[in-house]
Every structure is written in C-alpha cells, then in structure tokens.
C-alpha cells in the first residue's frame, strides 16, 4: 500500500466509535487539566497512562495525543478569563487575551484562541503526515549548539516583549536564571546555593514558580484591594464566539507565522511549546502592522502565539515517531505507552505498523478539528465560573495551586515554594516588576546552561562553534537583531522627528 491509501485506511480507523470517543475524552481531560491552575498537561498525560494499558496502541495513542493537544491549549482559557495561565506556554496568550477581556471582547478572545490553536495544530499535523522523514533528518543535524541558539532566541524574545523597561525585564530574567541554578547541577554534579538544606538541594520546579507568581499573586491583588466589595460574579450567561472563515482569512499572516515557528521549534527537544509561544509572539510583534497594540490587547499576537503552541505538538511528534526520540515530557510519556504495548517508535515503526502510524496521523488531524468543539464546550464551562463569587474562586484557586505543587513530586516541601512564590508574585505586581521574564528565566535558564556547557565540552571550550555552524549562527544573529531592533527603531524615529521639526522650523 502506498502512503495515500494507508492514509485513507487510517482516516477510516480514526472515525471508529472507540477512537472517536477516545479523542473527545482526551481533549476534554486535556483542556480541563491545562486550564486548572496546578494541574498541568503533563500531569494529565501521566494520569491517563494507566488506563491505556488495557487498550490497543492506536486508541491509547490517540487518547494521549488528544490530552497533549487539549492540555497545551487549555491554559489559555483560564489565562483569558482570570489572568492565570495554566502552563508556561499560555503566558503570551494571557497577556493579549486578558487585555482583550478587559476591553469587553472576552467571548471573541476565547473563540480566537480556540480556532488559532486548532488551526496551528491541524497544519502542523499535516506537515507531520506528509514530510516527517526529511524533517526528522533536519532535527538530527541539530546538536547542542543549535539547541542553545534556539533557547537563546526564546530568552531574548521575552526581554524585548516588555517595552516599558528592558532593564527591569533583564533584572527579572537573570533573577529567574539564578533561581534555576539552585540545586545539584546537571552537568558537573556540584551543589549550588543549597546552603546544606534538603529543600534547596532538589531545586525549584518551574511549574510552582509560574503558578505561584501568576495565580496566588493575582488572587491576593484582587481580594485585598481597600474598601472593595467582593465581586459576586456575572449575572448574565457568558458567551464564546468562534472566528468566522472571513476572520480566519484576515489573520492568515499571524496564523501562518505562528504555525511555522511552532512546528520548527516543536522539533527541538526541551521546552518546545514554551519557547515556540514566546518566539512566535516576539516575531509577530516585530512584523505586525499594529505593534502598538501589543500588551494592550492585540488580535495579531493572540493569533500567532495560540497557533504556535499547538503547532509545536505536530513538530514534537516528528522525532518521536520517526526516530524514537522523545523531545519533551509529554512525548516521553507517549514513548512509554508505545513501549508498554511492545512497539518501538523509531525508524522501523513505518515498516512494522504502518496502519497504526497512519491511523495516528489521521487521528491527530481529526483531533485538531474536534478540538474546536471540545474547546468551545470547555470554554463555556469555565466562563460559567465567572458567575461564582470572587472570594470562593480565590479560595479554590489557591487550594488547587497547593495540590498542583504537591502533585509534581508528591513532596510537601514543594508547598513552601508555592507559598513563597505566591507572596513574591503579589509583591512583584505591587512594585511593577514584570513576572514573565522571571518565569522564562527559571524554565529556559537551566536548558540554556546545559546546552551551552555541552557544546563547550564537545568543542573543547571553543566559543566560535556558535558562529561557525550556519543554523546556530543564523538563529543567534536573528536574536541579536531582535535585541537591538527596538533601539535602532527608536533612534530612527527620533531622527525623523528631529528632521521634521527642523523642516517645520525652517519653513
């Protein structure tokens, strides 16, 4: 059978009632878990893993990919509704989405996030279906040097996004990176900043930092305002309005750019979706025709980043299926599921189980379409929560945060971190320090360090490797360009303004 025939067989299989049910269930579980602060997409995948033991490989893989896709999107819902991103990749969508919410566009913002995520995911799955093998070769040609360059791009894009003060962003970024070094270091095994305490030796988990800073900080700020009567919740039924085809066409630029960067970055191991969300958002800000809207409710930004996060899922599946290399936590669990069923993902998968592979491909494509429906239902459900009084919401958000912190490692000492970062999150708001750079620093800092040191060890401490390898040189140049572009632009604008002023004075 050739590829196309296999694809039709796969599509027919994907429509079987059991597979369809698995995808729908997986999507709902994923979206709910992604949306609840404290329960991450990865928790949800680990959660469904035992249930897949007794199933066939195809439904179990479809269930897990559905949880994966849904979980990546889910955090945008709570981000847009309550300013609390469920996972780090939902942070840019939260900025724009919540700003749009405050302007009264909540229904549309949710709809855009759903549609853009579904479309980005769909397109990247199409890439995965059609051209996996060549893309896999590209992925293999990357070494620690290129990984470092990509992570560096992610770090730079978070710095340039905040225009109010680049210096404040840098301070928070480096603080995050320093917090990320606490514990036993990965490469050399030396203890760093542990002060001989068990609590610090294990290091700080970035999910705790993210949830603490965003969720608990937000609750404290909302509830402790002076003389405020707590909000009793909305009285009318909230709505969710999806994009029309015409609107999709109008935003084709951001959607496609998000899809492109998401798919490419998704293939790179480490922090795929998170880096993709920030990089696509940063790029969009540079090329958008309305850069001034960014941070104050930009439809371009929301479209690009939503499309990118789900596009990274297709990208991440490529090395898993074609090479048997899991790049992220989510794909590592899926690899475990493959192995549990006695199937080795990797180069032989296409020969040994072609029908399963194409069913998974077709299923993932279908899954992204069903996501529009599942996302709409779950968004409606979470919108209903806006009718719950603020105080009760606040109490439960904090409890969820603590449960989530505990669930990461089943360790009560992580609860101390949650409390600490929750309080820190409030004070960062109070003193106008940007939170996202700190979160990104703690997520990407350790990755950047590991890739940098690996590249250094492999090249005998020769820094020039970053610039002699074309891909890494290209990415690094883009990053440096991004860093200085705003400065240059400001200078040119000023010069233009001065020239105009001179011309006016002259006439």
């Amino acid at each position: 059978m050739n590829g196309l025939e296999l694809f039709w067989v796969g599509l027919a299989n994907a429509f079987s009632p059991l597979n369809f049910l698995m995808m729908l269930t997986g999507l709902v579980i994923g979206v709910l878990a992604g949306a609840l602060p404290g329960i991450t997409m990865l928790n949800a995948i680990v959660l469904v893993l035992p249930f897949t033991y007794s199933m066939d490989i195809v439904p179990s893989l479809l269930l897990m990919t559905a949880v994966y896709g849904g979980g990546i999107f889910g955090g945008s819902i709570t981000g847009i509704l309550f300013n609390i991103p469920g996972d780090p990749m939902n942070v840019p969508a939260t900025w724009e989405g919540y700003a749009l919410h405050r302007k009264g566009h909540v229904a549309k913002a949710l709809g855009v996030a759903i549609m853009a995520s579904a479309l980005g995911g769909f397109l990247s799955c199409l890439v995965m279906t059609l051209v996996s093998p060549p893309f896999a070769r590209v992925a293999l040609s990357f070494s620690a040097t290129e990984y470092f360059a990509v992570v560096f791009l992610g770090l730079v894009s978070v710095v340039v996004i905040n225009t109010r003060s680049v210096a404040s962003s840098l301070v928070c970024l480096f603080l995050g990176m320093l917090l990320g070094t606490i514990g036993i270091d990965d490469t050399f095994g030396s203890a760093r900043f542990t002060f001989n305490s068990r609590l610090l030796e294990t290091g700080i988990n970035f999910t705790i930092v993210l949830i603490g800073l965003f969720a608990i900080g937000e609750v404290l700020e909302q509830l402790c305002e002076r003389d405020k009567i707590p909000d009793q919740g909305l009285k009318e039924r909230p709505k969710v309005s999806l994009m029309t085809p015409r609107e999709v066409w109008a935003f084709k630029g951001p959607l496609l750019r998000g899809f492109g960067s998401g798919t490419m970055i998704g293939m790179i191991p480490g922090a795929g979706a998170t880096v993709a969300s920030f990089v696509s958002y940063g790029i969009e800000r540079q090329v958008s025709r309305k850069p001034e809207e960014f941070g104050k409710g930009s439809w371009d930004g929301l479209n690009a980043t939503s499309s990118a996060i789900n596009a990274s899922t297709g990208g991440a599946m490529i090395p898993l299926l074609t090479l048997g290399i899991p790049g992220s936590g989510a794909t590592a669990v899926m690899m475990g599921a493959f192995l549990m069923h006695g199937i080795q993902p990797g180069p032989l998968l296409f020969d040994k189980a072609p029908e399963s592979v194409y069913t998974i491909f077709a299923g993932m494509l279908l899954c992204n379409l069903i996501m529009i429906f599942a996302g709409w239902v779950c968004s409606k459900f979470f919108s209903e929560l806006m009718r719950v009084p603020e105080t009760i919401m606040g109490a439960f958000i904090i409890v969820f945060c603590f449960v989530g912190a505990y669930a990461l490692r089943n360790d009560t000492s992580d609860l101390w971190y949650m409390a600490f970062f929750g309080v820190l999150g409030y004070f960062m708001r109070r003193y106008r320090l940007p939170i996202p750079p700190l979160v990104l620093g703690i997520i990407l800092g350790p990755l950047a360090e590991r890739y940098f040191l690996t590249a250094m060890i492999a090249s005998n401490n020769d820094v020039s490797v970053f610039f002699t390898r074309p891909v890494s040189a290209g990415i690094l140049l883009v990053s440096i360009g991004m860093l200085f572009w705003p400065l240059l632009q400001a200078r040119m604008n000023r010069r233009k303004a001065a020239a105009q002023a001179a011309a006016v004075a002259g006439s």
């Binding site: 680049v166 840098l170 301070v171 030396s190 009567i229 707590p230 449960v403 009560t412 929750g422 109070r430």
Partner: protein, 177 residues
C-alpha cells in the same frame, strides 16, 4: 542652598536605590558562587560558570536600570503604573494564612487543613451568608478528595500521628479507600 541640594540628594537616592541594590546583589551572588561551588574538573568550565555569568548579567542589568531611571527622571509616570490602594491588614493576614497552611497540610493532613483554610480564607475575604462558609469549605473539601484521591490516585498528605489515622478513617467513611 543646602536644603535644595539635600532634596536633590534625596531624589537621587529614591531614583537609584533599586538599581544599586540589584548591582550589589549581583556582586554578592558572584562572590558567593565563586567561593561556595566546587572547583571545575581540569579543562572544564565547571558548575560555577553559569551562575557567575548570570550574576554578572544581573549587575549589568542594574547599571542599565540606573541609566533608564536617570533618563526617565522628571517624566510623568506611565499610565497604569500606579498600584492599587491595598488593604494592608487584610493582605498581611492572607499572606500569613497562605504561609501557615503549608505546615498545617503536612501536620493535619490535606482534608482537615483544606477545610480550615477555605473557611478562614472566605471569612477574611469578606464572604457573606450564614450557611455558605461551612457548606463551601466542607463540600469543597469532599469534592477535592473525591477528585484527587479517588479518581487521580494522588497520595495527598495524610498528616502525622493521630491525624494520619483520622485522615484514613475519613477516607474509609467516604468510601475513598
């Protein structure tokens, strides 16, 4: 003359106290990393390299911040820059509650600590209604127990000594175990 220069000095102090603190913090971290982290294996950068790099970055960011502050001097603060007027007493109590619930969860176990936390939190936040407080806190806790312990199999902290048995008994009474 003296007073005006004093005032100028005070203004400089408020302007630069943040950046200088950042700069000093970076320097301190650098020195501490240099002293406390193991020496690298020969020919390698070692574990101290990256934290030191970050510390230098932090110090540089502090200098940048100072430059930004000096340039922005005299300009009106940007829109949305003012912070909300907070009820500091309420804030303090809530922070205290959030910190205290951590040892409470470890000692009393998750169910008891959560029920207490939700109750006190709602009270502090100014929730109204006579029945609501116990209803929400007990009902919410039972809901969470079913969700996490029964469905998700999460071994939530059971507490210590007497409280561990209490939690186990509660689980049995709710048919969770």
């Amino acid at each position: 003359m003296d007073t005006s220069s004093d005032r100028a000095g005070a203004r400089w102090a408020t302007l630069l106290k943040g950046p200088v603190a950042v700069l000093l913090f970076g320097a301190a971290v650098y020195l501490y990393a240099d002293r406390s982290i193991d020496l690298p294996p020969p020919g390698q950068l070692g574990g101290a390299f990256w934290p030191k790099l970050c510390a230098v970055g932090m110090a540089v960011a502090g200098v940048l911040k100072a430059w930004e502050a000096i340039r922005a001097r005299g300009r009106p603060p940007e829109e949305g820059a003012a912070c909300k007027d907070m009820d500091n007493r309420k804030l303090f109590l809530m922070i205290l509650l959030i910190v205290l619930v951590v040892p409470a969860i470890a000692m009393l176990g998750f169910p008891l600590a959560t029920a207490l936390f939700i109750g006190i939190f709602l009270r502090l936040a100014g929730a109204r209604g006579r029945l609501m407080l116990p209803l929400v806190s007990l009902g919410g806790t039972v809901f969470l127990l079913y969700l996490f312990v029964k469905i998700v199999y999460l071994p939530l902290p059971k507490g210590e000594w007497f409280f561990e048995d209490l939690t186990l008994t509660l689980y049995r009474a709710l048919f969770i175990l």
